[in-house]
Symmetry: C2
Subunit: 336 residues, 2 copies
Amino acid sequence: MKGQTMAAIAAVEAHLGANGRLPLNVKFLIEGSEEIGSRNLRELIREQRERLACDCCLNVDSGLSSPEVPEIKYALRGNARMDLTVLGPRADVHSGTFGGTIHNPAQALCELIAGMHDEHGRITLPGFYDRVRALEPGEREELARLARDERHFLEATGVPALWGEPGFTPYERTTARPTVELTAIEAGPTGGGAMSIVPARARASFLMRLVPDQDPEECRQSMLRYLEAHAPADIGWELKYVAGVRASLFDRRGPGVAALQRALQAAWGVPAAFARMGGSIGAVSHLHEEMGVATLLTGFGAPDSNIHGPNERLHIPTWRKGIAALTRFFAEAATG
Amino acid sequence: MKGQTMAAIAAVEAHLGANGRLPLNVKFLIEGSEEIGSRNLRELIREQRERLACDCCLNVDSGLSSPEVPEIKYALRGNARMDLTVLGPRADVHSGTFGGTIHNPAQALCELIAGMHDEHGRITLPGFYDRVRALEPGEREELARLARDERHFLEATGVPALWGEPGFTPYERTTARPTVELTAIEAGPTGGGAMSIVPARARASFLMRLVPDQDPEECRQSMLRYLEAHAPADIGWELKYVAGVRASLFDRRGPGVAALQRALQAAWGVPAAFARMGGSIGAVSHLHEEMGVATLLTGFGAPDSNIHGPNERLHIPTWRKGIAALTRFFAEAATG
């Protein structure tokens, strides 16, 4: 969604073009490593915290449930990335000579993965849900008013039926509940080859989505305890922690929120909705943890913008409304 | 093991060099598609059955349990190859936006694979064991005398412990019992990438090793019935049958066997052992089924020859003994 960052820049340019100056101080923090976990950003923020000092941050990296209603996001999920490798024979071996007498590491990996959720879709890793903060009273009703209902998720993905943790709506499951997602798995010759082997190793990548007050390191420990309890003695395994950030939850009456509400309402003609976001933005988490500063999180991506997928896109008229709203926001924020 | 084919050619050359002629008629049938299932060979044999007419076939594509004892193989496992694809969202989707509300196809594939064996390593596909022929009385004792014991399998693979169907020795499990082996699995970005997606699809390749009297097509049906019973309604799936051959089991008193016994004993100084082979050789199966002709199956690969793996190799002194034995075999077979 780099096009959304351009909307913020366009709003700054609008002020500079019209008045030769901005109505308030703006500092840019630009990073290029978000998709690989913002690993070095945290240290940079710590080192530069005096230069970065501010009342609030503005981040334009989220989407809309409906193009007709602007949104302010007050919650982001955190994440924890880890890779699991299961080790079998020291090299690929002939399946006719050794198959059936050694535990196939790809099969063992599948067995471990299958056990990470129960038959209802609830995560079984020990202690994984211990710190999960429940939704506030009234919050479920408020979120239910957003357009992301069951039909939205069915249409956006094309799956024949939805799936997930019982007791929560699809939108709650994707924003206010944690997940353990298998993002990649690999063993043996890929690309449809027909080698007659038992592979020497199998690898899986996991991306956990975390909610307040889960801690990425504690979630790694949950995975580790699960593996220690369930990995069979006839294989080897290695768990490698890649990166992680905590979830963020902001005060809906914090600095800049009222200004952003006024600006969005002016551009769309309807009041902005408060929503949770299912994704993770390392910068938001790190700015919060290192500087105690809250981020105003908004954005203009339509539900069908296919983020992180092929043909990712922005709806141009909605994007133009976004530029107008952000231009107005700078003026509103300057007047308090 | 193309070096073993060269041993047979060297034996023919030895006769031609010494006497200018062979003591019996030899026809060569050379194929290059064994590793991808010998798909076109069967039709060729059917078309050319008159030109290929013979008393017996000689195939030098097997190995030895110990370099000190020559072996004649009287049983080969068949196989059935199939690919399973599990279909999720129509494209890769963002794991923060959709994860937790749709069934991850890679996870669903792992769940299906995990259910294909019970906790003891026995295959659960409906009807899979129905036609499996039991070992003959006395056969288990005979096979137990071969050097492929538990320690052999541990040392050859380097795994911390063996695995497999209860009630059978490791050697029996790899030669006289059927298996369902996962040879490859693939979903999401491979190569260790950290994309934040739920993959659109996941693919697994299976190689079943079959024993008499299993039928590859019936085994495909077993897999299909398992999938129809266990695949959840929230994903799509496709099972593609690739290729298969039936197992072979030959009479230990059939044509040419006594000549091969004499020749092997002359070269090694000890009697040849009868053994089963865990792999599959499409040519042996097709010649048996299309022409009713038995194959004399021997070979000189050491247990550590690492067949189908990296650094596959032959032990040169054993290979030379093999050339001597095959040279003698042509003479012995000519005298009856």
